[in-house]
């Protein structure tokens, strides 16, 4: 046994000496795949870990968290909950975003009772040791180092916040360490915040510690009995999940893409191994003849794959960690397509990660080598020793039946619903269609080549004959192109469709000249009636349409829904991208985004009562469904008049502004700022500016997707190159014979180029077709199920044509470069080489 291992080792090393590049390619392919998977996984995990940490830091060691609407709930609930038997500690919390004067981004403020919170978060007490008394004073705020940094203030400075239409000044009482509070956040005493930030009587959260020995579920049930509708109590783990779910779909997308890269890498290992075994078939047969058993041979070949996998995965893992570090630094880990706040960028890598990924690589290497290895091992020795050809080896892969069955499965999978909000079957469908495509493509290509009109030139005829005849090599060449390019085509179509639909939506959503917003992200600033009147009177302003936009929690586990009260235009239809119009409805109409259909199962014509907080409700009838790319958590549009009537909230925090003809936008913007006097918290942008910014952030969000695609295609081209080079090497004798028969050197080259072109063209054609099918699954299944919004299919013909041309030319070039050397002088000598 030991001797055999040594023999294999020696043979393997000899192969490396003989053809280092050839041996390196599968290693590189696997390394690329593993590095991508590693990077995406690590960035995702670091982002999630930070989420969890942040959530845990804020809720301390709470066993349960009571939550209600984002706008908060009555504090009277707090003593009731605190007295529930089994509740040891109840810590009231008021979380809010305050708008700062002169700042666009709101500041997250967490207001709590430090005396209560300290029982849940001993760390908090440590932070504030000795300053607890300072905490009690109103108008005091403690800032995290990051917040102090962003705002450019220090202890003792004052910051101005906008509350409603008035200004309040807060003293920065101290700084919280960055280690404990990595994000930008301000801490205040709950009484001070309730008073100074106009939230008297309101809480947004109660953190609970269950008494020692009490059963959490029993306590939860007891607490739940005290909660009014719209509120719930849950373990903080669920809370973390809710935070994370906002970006989950996007992250799953990336993970899948990374897995595709790994699979493509594994496929390349498979291809390279298969080709290398074709080449080594006589040598292997010789080993069999010399007494290596069939099983021993198969195992040894699989072991080779494992070694390739180990090396590739080790390199890949290290590259992946570097890539992840770069991604966290450069993109600040924003994998949430803007749905997450930027992160501190601490990469978490455990020893378990290295083990997992390297083992994954080894397993894939072994698996990829297993099939061709077994094939080689079961080959009759005598035949393999004698004949050089191995076309029969792949005959079974060319079956229409298996390919058809796999493709059919893919189609069926695409019709299945999501699992826990994730398009699991959609991805499975893509996998099946891809495999089916790879299986069907050689057969389809064979059929196509069979019907190909025979060209005049002998070398062209030879090229076609060679492609039709040696199915193994052709199949690998095709598959490499199809696997990588069809995915790229699908992603390109999906992203292009998304972008086109996004632009159309943007144009629809921005009908005016200016867009005016107060304190983004649920900030506290609003425009009261006087402010609204003032805005209307600014010179150059023709018309202003005010909106009130605020979050609405309809169900706790879900991201809050955005309620937008806007003016409803002529015919009772708002300026939205309506995808389903229910026509006029009795009573107050409301329009819902597509996500509402999926998340809340609301339908047109349905009557719904919206809880506006403070005991107010608004009864509406769903009049239609619109597309909303702005909020994946769902949004509801109601007429502003009805909203004001129902809740008495006539303030506005968004507005569309139409200008008089000839009025200069920048002059009006300046005038609005001056007139309203709320500094930077008031954001006025021209429609063009908003459009440009939105598209830029769209493109940034998808930049990482493009990078992954490019790498997948690169791996695919590597595959074509490997197939071509390996083919050319094993065909040296053939070229020599043809030269003897009188084929000119350039005719040999032309033949190779034509083979490459044909492989590239047919492979690209199949990939375009398959990619088109895959894009349908991506657009209508994966996208719809992940993001809950629809996209209109739009094909980027120009891009696809260019990419196809590049790919075909690259394939031809790869074939040519691989073959050119082989067609040279020593080809003539190769004729006399025996096998």
């Amino acid at each position: 046994m030991k001797a055999q291992v040594r023999l294999w080792w020696r043979l393997w090393c000899a192969q490396w000496r003989a053809g280092p590049v050839r041996m390196l390619v599968p290693v590189i392919a696997l390394a690329l795949g593993v590095s991508l998977a590693t990077a995406v996984q690590l960035v995702n995990r670091s982002a999630l870990a930070e989420f969890e940490q942040a959530a845990r830091r804020l809720s301390g060691d709470a066993d349960l968290v009571v939550r209600g609407p984002v706008a908060g709930f009555q504090e009277g609930l707090y003593p009731l909950i605190a007295r529930v038997p089994g509740v040891a500690v109840a810590s009231p919390v008021l979380e809010l975003h305050v708008t700062l004067a002169d700042r666009r981004e709101p500041l997250q403020v967490i207001a709590l009772d430090p005396l209560r919170a300290a029982q849940l978060q001993p760390r908090l007490l440590g932070e504030l040791a000795g300053e607890r008394r300072a905490f009690f004073a109103p108008d005091r705020i403690f800032l995290s180092a990051r917040a102090a940094d962003t705002l450019g203030v220090r202890s003792g400075d004052r910051i101005e916040v906008l509350v409603g239409s008035s200004r309040r000044s807060l003293e920065v009482a101290g700084q919280l360490s960055a280690a404990a509070y990595p994000r930008a956040v301000g801490l205040m005493d709950i009484a001070a915040a309730q008073w100074r930030l106009d939230r008297l009587g309101v809480l947004t959260r109660i953190d609970l510690r269950v008494a020692r020995g009490a059963d959490i579920d029993t306590v939860r049930a007891a607490v739940a009995r005290h909660l009014p509708p719209g509120m719930s109590v849950a373990a903080p783990a669920v809370d973390d999940a809710r935070l994370a779910s906002a970006s989950r779909a996007y992250r799953v997308n990336l993970t899948m893409l990374a897995l595709v890269a790994v699979l493509t890498g594994a496929f390349l290992v498979f291809a390279a191994q298969a080709l290398s075994l074709l080449r080594r078939r006589p040598a292997l047969a010789l080993l069999r003849a010399l007494g290596v058993t069939r099983g021993g041979l198969a195992r040894a070949l699989a072991a080779e794959g494992v070694v390739v996998g180990l090396i590739g995965a080790t390199i890949g893992f290290m590259a992946g960690v570097a890539l992840a570090r770069w991604m966290l630094g450069a993109v600040a880990g924003d994998l949430g397509a803007g749905q997450l706040e930027s992160l501190s960028g601490a990469l978490i890598v455990g020893p378990g990660d290295a083990t997992a990924f390297i083992l994954l690589g080894a397993a894939m290497g072994g698996a990829a080598a297993w099939l061709p290895g077994r094939e080689a091992a079961t080959q009759p020795v005598a035949q393999a020793l004698r004949a050089g050809d191995a076309s029969a080896a792949f005959a079974r892969v060319r079956s229409w039946r298996i390919g058809g069955a796999v493709t059919g499965t893919g189609v069926v999978l695409a019709l299945l619903p999501p699992v826990q909000g994730l398009p699991v079957f959609g991805y499975a469908s893509i996998g099946a269609l891809l495999l089916g495509g790879v299986l069907l493509a050689p057969a389809a290509a064979g059929g196509l080549l069979g019907r190909w009109p025979a060209p005049r030139a002998a070398e062209a005829r030879l090229a076609i004959a060679q492609l039709r005849g040696s199915s193994a090599r052709t199949a690998i060449g095709f598959a490499a192109i199809i696997v990588s390019f069809s995915l790229m085509v699908a992603m390109a179509i999906m992203v292009h469709s998304f972008r086109e639909s996004f632009i159309a939506w943007l144009d629809q959503a921005l009908p005016a000249d200016l867009q005016l917003r107060l304190g983004q992200g649920g900030g506290s600033a609003t425009l009261d009636a006087a402010g609204q009147e003032a805005a209307r009177e600014v010179e150059g302003v023709a018309r202003v349409e005010f909106r009130r936009s605020r979050p609405l929690v309809l169900r706790r586990e879900a991201v809050p829904v955005q309620l937008v009260a806007m003016e409803i235009g002529e015919g009772g239809v708002p300026a939205l991208t309506i995808v389903k119009d229910g026509g006029p409805v009795p009573g107050t109409p409301a329009w819902i985004s597509e996500a509402m259909e999926d998340l809340y199962r609301w339908r047109t014509g349905e009557h719904v009562t919206l809880p506006l907080g403070g005991g107010h409700t608004l009864a509406v009838t769903i009049a239609g469904v619109f597309r909303d790319y702005g909020r994946s958590g769902g949004s509801v549009v109601v007429p502003r008049a009805a909203y004001v009537e129902a809740g008495g909230d006539s303030a506005a925090n968004e507005a569309l502004v139409w200008l008089h003809r000839g009025a200069a936008a920048d002059v009006v913007v300046a005038a609005l700022h001056a007139r309203l006097g709320i500094g930077e918290a008031l954001q006025v942008r021209t429609t063009g500016e908003v459009r440009e910014r939105s598209l830029r952030s769209f493109d940034r969000a998808f930049a990482i997707t493009y990078a992954l695609e490019a790498i997948a295609v690169f791996i695919g081209l590597l595959g074509v190159g490997v197939a071509a080079a390996s083919t050319a090497l094993s065909r040296r004798a053939e070229f020599g014979m043809l030269r003897h028969l009188g084929l000119l050197r350039r005719q040999v080259v032309a033949m190779l180029a034509e083979e490459g072109l044909l492989t590239g063209a047919i492979g690209t054609g199949c990939a375009l077709l398959l990619g088109g099918v895959l894009s349908l699954v991506l657009v209508h299944v994966v996208n719809r199920q992940s993001f809950l919004w629809s996209i209109d299919l739009a094909v980027p013909w120009g891009t696809l044509a260019m990419l196809s041309a590049v790919l075909v030319v690259s394939a031809a070039a790869a074939a040519l470069i691989g073959g050119r050397a082989a067609a040279g002088g020593d080809a003539i000598r190769a004729v006399r080489e025996d096998w």
Binding site: E75, Y78, P79, A82, R83, P92, D113, L115, R116, A118, L125, R133, F136, A137, P138, D189, I190, A191, A192, Q194, W195, L200, G201, R212
Partner: protein, 324 residues
Amino acid sequence: MAFPRDHGSHPAFRTEWWYATGWLRTASGEQLGFQATFFRSLREEAAGNPSAFAPHQILVAHAAISDPARGHLWKDQRIARAGLGLAGANTGDAVVWIDGWRLVREGGSFRIRAPATDFALDLALAPAQPPLLNGEAGFSRKGRSPAAASYYYSLPHIEVRGHIAREGRREAVTGEAWLDHEWSSEYLEPQAAGWDWVGLNLDDGSALMAFRIRGRDGGVRWAGGSLRTADGRLLHFAPGDIAFTPRRSWRSPRTAIIYPVEWLLRAGDLALSIAPLMDDQESDTRATTGAIYWEGAVRASTGGREVGRGYLELTGYGEALRLR
């Protein structure tokens, strides 16, 4: 003073406490000390804040059991702002509480409950004697400045019945306690570092309270005390009548603070040796009141014969005490 009104809270004063200490005896004959204290402190920072959470009054509760078998205290503490019914101190009669911890006077006796983390007190304190008004009819000076003073009465010789629990083991106890109720806006002079205080239920039915205020300079700034005999005669001691003489010290292994735990106390004609139930009765309450002090059960004896039991309090031995 008027009762029951003055059993209740006096929210206009800055500082107030209800201080119950005493000796307990379990069914198995164990001798234990206990302490249960509620503090109230008025905060002016939040004046004008209409929020229900506004920290106008902060309440603190301490509870401890002196258990010689354990060698150090069972102790726990709570702190909360008054409000929303979860913590508070009522006026009119003694009702003061933080969550489940409470001291309530009902039917003439005081009920104390302190469900602490590792142990619990659930005691009924039935005073057998009327309130003992310290100082001048309850006005007790604490320093050379007349402003440094408190309203202060004691209830000695209280019969105790109830239960304690240690790590879930619940036992019936009986014993004798002492309850102090004191409120003030300016308790200590700035020059004061801390005090030594002792309250003793003497076996002959009399009760002795003695204290001295130590200055930051190491000298004695003030002293005072009261003695009520079994037949109800009340004696007030002037500063010169009281002498605390340390006899033995104990060094805390946790804080390295050195406390004189054995004393020779002279109060008027009375001379008593004071010795602790156990040495380590130190309380670290930095999380609530900010102080580290020694508060423990002591025996009083004359000529080697035990004549009474009570509690000794030693503050300001580490850092000067600040009452805020």
